[in-house]
Amino acid sequence: MTLRSRALLLRLLALLGAGLLAGPPLAAQVARRAPQGLTAFRPQHGAGYFPFARTKVPEAWEEHPELGPGIRVNGALESDPAGEDDLIELLVARPFEGTDLVLARSGPALVLWTTRTRVPGSAVPFTGDVTAPLAFGGARTLTLWVEWSGAVPPGPAALELRAPEWDAALDRLRFHAFTSLVVALGGEGQVPGLPLDPNHGTFVVATDLYARGYDVLMRDEDEVSPTGTGPVYTEVVNAIQNRAVGTLAIYGYSHGGGSTYDLCERLDTFRGSIGTFAIEFTSYADGVQNDSDTDLDQELRKPPTSAYHANHYQVGSFADFFLDGGPVPSSFPSPSGLNVETVFWGVGATHFLVDDYLQVFDHIATNLEARVAR
């Protein structure tokens, strides 16, 4: 096990242990007091966080330019296929009684709301980029929602909790606007859900990337048709056209590998009508073409225009119905990917195990993170 694999596993175990991936119900988490004043959460999906758990940004990363809180640019023309879900949940804790607290922002890109769907009249007013004293109404915490409003992000934006009476800054968050989108597609019969199934390797990596500050679409590969149409394509195009996203990372296991190809092919075919984007990272884990639920053909085609394609495969046997991926030209590890059965940790691999090796997690996460800015 490499250091990175060990770190990935430990991170996931820590998250599971902290109850952040499959933890207590929402109400119990809301009640937890933010130790330093401000707590931001990872991005929403639809009316909540599913298929991710509600995941807070660790205190140590709150000002980190990449690992810190990420936020989608909320474009004016967005289709928002899952409803308004681009605002970031912000928990403000009142560390002291009897002292007014205000929030100061670095600029007008950050807009605060008291409602997650921007109900008219629920915007928090700023005067000179500082709010009026926050109204806790006797509670110890206050939930607000942060929106990145505007066009292409010029850089990070900050939000600071201040006690004007003492001229003190109590806590600070540094938001990065997402310019990339990660798409993770599982194998046939794998549906993203909670609690996270440790045998769904694609989703284990996706959950890790989400916790590390990426915007991740974790989806059933059936949401990509053989010609690439479907809800995933719609969301990706919406992100490119309305949310300033210009970089894509797409990866999948088994039929999810085939769907990775199908999605990239469609994006490339209709590039002229979509806008400017680059597919910086793709990956197959034992990729199988996905022309149908019964397709067994190896996916041996490199996704069109992928700048870096990772490929892991094994050789099928009766135990896995002779299912396998195979060498893909110009993929990594060079020159055509890795037959995991040729290395000690993959001896005896089957189609149903390839996506679950820590070494495969490691290769995907490390190389994606090296190439795809958040």
């Binding site: 046939e188 019969g189 022309d291 149908s292 896995d320 119905f321």
Partner: protein
């Protein structure tokens, strides 16, 4: 030249009572699980041989059971068994289609979506060429079943209309009028796909296609009216060019359903 083998199979299938809700066959379901649980290749071969022996004429007994197994699968291994069995038993595409087409009449949208994800194997969908629905031709030459027509329009509306025109229409004037309408709709979809018509510019940008939409929407053949309703469903901005209110009260239930779905979309 006599009828083709697929045509004969389709005729046979049309004579058999249509069952959109097959029940699990315990013997075949057990047989499928034996393939799944085989401890050796020899055991797996034997389980496959047993399935082959009990597959029924033209695999008509086996194929729906394979689909039911896939539908109830709980993990990747179970889900991938369906393709393995169909491949190992060399089930011809025409057999698979003949067994699955009747199931498209199901009222259950989840089941229909599952069927669509299997049938694409035989439709060869392509970004450049569209789908190939030639395997369905025998089913479209008689009065086409609404479930099949719904499936075709959902899978590839341009290929669907063309397949129906070719299978159903021989009279020259009608054929030419429908082919022109098909061409106009396909052209509009192409322009939308490649960005030569912006969705924000609809419906003004599509006004040149209004006559063809009208032709289809008021055509005596119900499956032609479906084409107009389907386009309005895909592109809510075009609802003003399609007489949706009339189509929503159409005599044919599928036209009504598509028109009502179109009226709901984008509201």
């Amino acid at each position: 030249m006599g009828p083709t083998i697929p045509a004969l199979l389709a005729s046979l299938a049309l004579l058999v009572p249509q069952d959109a809700s097959p029940r699990p066959d315990p013997a075949l379901q057990t047989g499928l699980r034996r393939v799944l649980d085989a401890a050796s290749e020899a055991e797996q071969r034997a389980a496959l041989d047993s399935l082959r022996a009990n597959a029924g004429p033209a695999h008509a007994r086996l194929v729906p059971q394979v689909f039911l197994f896939l539908e109830g699968s709980r993990d990747t291994r179970e889900a991938m068994l369906a393709g393995f069995v169909l491949a190992e038993l060399a089930v011809p595409p025409a057999d698979a289609v003949a067994a699955l087409v009747p199931l498209l009449e199901s009222e259950d949208p989840v089941r229909r979506a599952g069927l669509a994800r299997v049938l694409t194997e035989y439709e060869e969908p392509s970004l450049d060429r569209g789908s190939d629905f030639s395997l369905y031709r025998p089913y479209l030459e008689a009065e086409p079943a609404p479930g099949l027509v719904r499936h075709l329009y959902e899978a590839d509306p341009d290929a669907a209309l063309l397949a129906l025109i070719r299978a159903q229409v021989q009279e020259t004037a009608e054929l030419r009028a429908l082919l022109w309408a098909w061409h106009e709709l396909a052209d509009l979809r192409w322009k939308l796909l490649y960005g030569f018509v912006e969705r924000g510019a609809l419906p003004a940008a599509a006004s040149a296609h209004a006559a063809s939409l009208e032709t289809l929407a008021r055509h005596p053949r119900w499956w032609a009216r479906c084409a107009a309703a389907q386009l309005a469903r895909e592109e809510p901005a075009l609802r003003t060019l399609v007489p949706l209110e009339a189509l929503a009260e159409d005599v044919h239930p599928l036209v009504r359903a598509l028109a009502r779905a179109a009226a709901e979309t984008g509201r």
